[in-house]
């Protein structure tokens, strides 16, 4: 009998799926960046309803950020590193459970409130797309399994830092060992969580979640008033020719033609340049 670790289902779930999901996710992200900058938005509905959003959105996003931080700490950073800085296993586990549960509660409360808002407020409901429904479903599964895994692991029965975490890091060096995921120590709930979230990553670029990739981190260092010439290239050429009037618009705006079919880009293409 073939051990499950090298069986077809395990390979499919822990080797094929991650790479397919990452391939779809990353190429999808590039594709959308290049072709649909217009659709790249958070699609806020605050205009339509703000009372529930005021707390639910904040709680949800803060919880998500905490959860991401927790995953970085628990999955991306090797156990040996945290031990090297003097965090013992017990201390780590306490941190992980306390942080994980509070983040999970925040995410769940926020998510439920946002879902309630989305499906009971008629105005918000009409802005809901089919893709939104898909992504809400994937998020719900990811959140539920993540929370369940955290609660399940309160007694520290699964040392995922010696199984799930190394497996996850192996993916990025193209040597994933599925037996780490199918081993004795990994509870089913962890397996479900890991698998479910790959689907989320694959769907990510095609959904409203892409707004997470355009967090305006450069805003504080940008010049407050942005100037832009009608045609950045022509303006730069003119400045070069006449030695003055250099375009002093903010560098936060790429000077070249926008990759997404801005008027300037298309005109030049049409002129055969």
């Amino acid at each position: 009998m073939i051990p499950f670790a090298t069986s077809v289902p395990a390979t499919a779930a822990y080797v094929v799926l991650p790479y397919v999901a990452l391939a779809i996710g990353i190429t999808g992200l590039i594709w959308r960046r290049r072709t649909d900058s217009f659709g790249w938005t958070a699609r806020s509905t605050e205009l339509l309803e703000s009372r529930i959003l005021r707390f639910a959105s904040v709680i949800f996003h803060v919880g998500v950020l905490m959860a991401i931080g927790g995953h970085v700490l628990g999955i991306l950073i090797p156990e040996s590193w945290t031990e090297a800085v003097g965090i013992s296993d017990d201390v780590y586990h306490l941190l992980a459970v306390a942080g994980g549960i509070s983040a999970g509660i925040a995410v769940i409360v926020g998510f439920l409130a946002l879902m309630y808002r989305r499906f009971t407020n008629p105005r918000v409901r009409v802005t809901t797309t089919d893709m939104d429904l898909v992504i809400f479903g994937l998020l719900a599964v990811g959140i539920a399994t993540g929370m369940a895994a955290t609660i399940f692991n309160i007694p520290d029965s699964v040392n995922y830092r010696e199984s799930v975490a190394p497996y996850f890091r192996q993916i990025f060096i193209f040597q994933p060992d599925p037996s780490l995921m199918t081993g004795q120590g990994v509870a089913t709930i962890f397996q479900v969580h890991v698998i479910a979230v790959w689907f989320l990553y694959a769907a990510w670029p095609f959904s409203r979640l892409i707004h997470a990739f355009t967090v305006p981190v450069t805003y504080p260092i940008r010049s407050p008033i942005v100037y832009r010439p009608r045609n950045p290239r022509a303006a730069a050429a003119r400045a070069k020719r006449y030695g003055s009037g250099s375009p002093d618009y903010s560098p936060s705006i790429p000077a070249g033609p926008q990759p997404t079919g801005s008027t300037g880009g298309r005109s030049r293409a049409a002129q055969g340049e």
């Binding site: 959308r32 072709t35 649909d36 900058s37 217009f38 659709g39 790249w40 938005t41 958070a42 699609r43 806020s44 605050e46 205009l47 339509l48 703000s50 005021r54 707390f55 959105s57 904040v58 996003h61 803060v62 008629p122 105005r123 009409v126 802005t127 797309t129 893709m131 707004h211 355009t214 305006p216 805003y219 504080p220 940008r222 407050p224 008033i225 942005v226 100037y227 832009r228 010439p229 009608r230 045609n231 022509a234 303006a235 003119r238 006449y242 009037g245 618009y249 903010s250 705006i253 926008q258 997404t260 079919g261 801005s262 008027t263 880009g265 298309r266 005109s267 030049r268 293409a269 049409a270």
Partner: protein, 554 residues
């Protein structure tokens, strides 16, 4: 000195009859789309009133515009970038749809399709957002001609600044029409509020635009604008605003609102601005000095030094000439009859207003009409008796300083007196001009501008230069808004109604399938394989993969 050209507008409130033609033509051109039903790039308010959106002028509530911090440095009233990023999940200052209004249409089909019955069928109002029934509580221009003013007018934020008791008795009522568009400010707080840098001022003409491809739905521009003239398209999740009809302006044509104004009260022109001093001008300590500071930024286009620097800064010569003939420069700076809207917001707005004259409050003092006006002092005293309190106009147009309003009204009155002599064949009295601080020839030029108001005098709009910009040929026949769900399509041009399918998507799909709409005004462009933009926003059952050609500015 760094010279830039800036488009501006002056509206002569003396001539506004509140017909809303500007609003309607603007709406038909720009915001007749799903997601923008509630949006009025141009609206006409009756003042006193709460305005659109409700109480937009009350910055203690909305935190729009700029203020000075304790050290006298200019900062956004709603807080700087870090504060904005901290509030990015929920903007505490964002108006709600109900602060504008829930847009509606009527269930007209009922009137035709109802079966015969004892009672007449009724067309019920339906929300254009949800399609559901609507109990209409508020609407665009709800306060037209002081409707409901007994209840609402007292909330007008402009009354807060007036010290003396406001007269609101029936016999004391007054009103002003106030048409509003985006101010295309020299120091726009919406641009500074945009975390993504999607909003920008165009170098060539100062028009403030939203890059639809860069907007990420953070919506701080909406709350950052003290005039609430950046709107949120709830369908696309992007900000949109008055774009000064830039496709028309680039072709040397006036904006749609100006072109269609039956009162011919809008003037368009270019002013040369010294951009090096913008921040200093917006940072003057006393609010009431902002008007002078802004006038000071406007450079004299006839000054050889300014012309030379303008050329050096890349402003085309015909633009500098246009600045010489600019009605905006003349009315704002030369004659000082036009005033900016709420300069105290420190945005240095570029849509200016000539305050309206109004009837004398008491007949006994109606000296102007009676011709018993030998004494200029009497005339100027009479201006104080006008029905619209000068303090009220001042709280709208000059940060509460009645001086500039009085000066403007004095000059308008002087112009009438002076020109009446000429028109009646009497001897001209140059002292009328000098009493108002002007030259007789200036009054005549002013008369030509505000009373005759020839098309060519009202609109001095230099065209854009193809040689320094991209060729416009390829854009011929296209419409200004090019993104998905762009614009109503002729032939399919029904206003978005209850549960209406998105007409633009349908038209594009039809064009794909070779069934172009019959009328050709909106030539649906050949799909460019390089710019196959998929619409990921199409709603339930919407056909993904319908392409539109490229992004656009709105």
């Amino acid at each position: 000195m760094k010279v830039r050209a800036q488009m501006g507008m002056v509206m002569n409130l003396d001539k506004c009859i509140g017909c809303h033609t500007c609003s309607v033509t603007c709406k038909n051109v720009w915001t007749n789309r799903r997601g923008t039903e509630y949006v009025w790039f141009n609206n006409v308010e009756t003042k006193p009133g709460r305005g659109f959106p409700v109480d937009y002028e009350d910055q203690s509530k909305w935190n729009g515009g700029w203020e000075l911090d304790r050290r006298g440095k200019l900062k956004l009233k709603a807080g700087g970038p870090l504060r904005k990023l901290a509030n990015i999940f929920s903007n505490p200052d964002l108006p709600q749809l109900d602060d504008y209004y829930d847009p509606w249409t009527y269930d007209y089909d009922k009137l035709i399709s109802s079966p015969s019955s004892e009672h007449q069928p009724v067309a019920r109002p339906k929300s254009q957002v949800t399609g559901g029934d609507l109990d209409i509580q508020w609407g665009p221009n709800w306060e037209d001609d002081l409707a409901g003013s007994a209840e609402h007018a007292a909330f007008d934020p402009n009354f807060k600044k007036i010290q003396e008791e406001v007269k609101q008795g029936f016999e004391d009522t007054f009103m002003v029409y106030l048409p509003r568009i985006c101010e295309h400010c020299i120091n726009p707080s919406c641009v500074a509020s945009c975390p993504s840098g999607a909003m920008y001022k165009r170098e060539e003409d100062g028009i403030v635009l939203v890059d639809q491809d860069a907007c990420r739905s953070w919506r701080f521009c909406v709350s950052g604008c003290p005039y609430k003239k950046v709107y949120f398209n709830w369908h696309t999740g992007k900000a949109e605003k008055c774009n000064f009809c830039f496709p028309r302006i680039e072709a040397g044509m006036p904006t749609v609102c100006s072109e269609t104004c039956v009162g011919r009260l809008r003037h368009l022109g270019v002013v040369l601005i010294d951009t090096d001093r913008v921040e200093a001008a917006a940072s003057v300590k006393d609010e009431q000095d902002l008007l002078e500071a802004q006038l000071d930024l406007m450079l004299d286009p006839d000054d050889p030094e300014v012309r030379e620097q303008a050329l050096r800064d890349g402003i085309p010569a015909d633009w500098i000439d246009a600045a010489s003939y600019s009605p905006v420069y003349a009315m704002a700076k030369k004659w000082k009859i036009a005033l900016p809207l709420h300069p105290e917001y420190r945005t240095l707005p570029m849509v200016w207003y000539v305050p309206p004259l109004s009837p004398m409050e008491s007949v006994g003092k109606a000296l102007i009409r009676d011709g018993d006006d030998e004494d200029a002092a009497n005339i100027f005293a009479a201006i104080d008796e006008m029905r619209i309190p000068m303090e009220y106009l001042a709280s709208i147009l000059s940060a509460g300083d009645v001086g500039p309003v009085r000066r403007s009204l004095e000059r308008l009155t002087a112009m009438r007196r002076y020109m009446r002599d000429l028109n009646l064949g009497d001897e001209a009295r140059p002292e009328i001009a000098t009493d108002a601080g002007m030259e007789p020839h200036e009054l005549e030029a002013m008369y030509r501008m505000v009373a005759i108001a020839d098309y060519d005098d009202r609109y001095v709009i230099p065209k854009r230069h193809g040689e320094v910009s991209e060729g416009a040929f390829v854009e011929q026949g296209s419409c200004g808004i090019k993104f998905a769900n762009g614009a109503p399509v002729p032939g399919l041009g029904e206003m978005t109604g209850v549960n209406a399918p998105d007409p633009y998507m349908g038209a594009l799909a039809a064009a794909r399938d070779g069934e172009a709409p019959e009328t050709g005004a909106l030539a649906v462009e050949e799909p460019d394989p390089d710019f196959d933009v998929r619409d990921l926003l199409s709603r339930h059952g919407g056909k993904p993969g319908t392409a539109s050609a490229g992004g656009g500015d709105a």
